[in-house]
Subunit: 120 residues, 2 copies
Amino acid sequence: MSFDPASLKYDDRGLIPAIAQDAQTGEVLMMAWMNAQAVTRTLETGKVTYWSRSRQAFWIKGETSGHVQELVDFRVDCDRDCLLVRINQTGPACHTNRRSCFYTAVRDGEEVELMTPMSD
Amino acid sequence: MSFDPASLKYDDRGLIPAIAQDAQTGEVLMMAWMNAQAVTRTLETGKVTYWSRSRQAFWIKGETSGHVQELVDFRVDCDRDCLLVRINQTGPACHTNRRSCFYTAVRDGEEVELMTPMSD
């Protein structure tokens, strides 16, 4: 079946969550949002492109930082309301310079930092 | 630092997305939503508990199906507006009886089904 970005279920802002996963290691790196056109651009260019809610603009991941996400595989969930992009990540995915945004664990009621920022 | 569920950023419905990842294989299994009390219950019981938007009720994953999610590690992202739960999944995570909800890939413009339902 041919894929139509309009067939996805977007929220009332026209957005769908997209989980970015390292295609090599399986590590979950970040979650951000796409609109229908960001989905189209991601598939057409192979460069993962989100919609920035704060800037209200397309966000080609890594365009300014160089920390690009090359699309390896694009997946849709059963309800068509969440995406999983399997990627090759250059450098850190997180704006704090850590490899993943999920660097804080909650263990025995305490927050534990699992990763330090990467050096350039 | 002591963890306070109220310190997370919830959306205007009081919800935060939670990504469930197989702690053994790294496979991303599903994404669902929690409210503050679901976060508390998940941490207290070790059984991953979501908030069902359709039923407007707590949803202890697997309570009726037996396909429970045992919490292994609970992670918070840099913006505190997304969660990652690393889990031991019994049986399929998806209501279609597939291991993961992300069983559809988009490749060369076509939808490709990657997994078949598990047998009981």
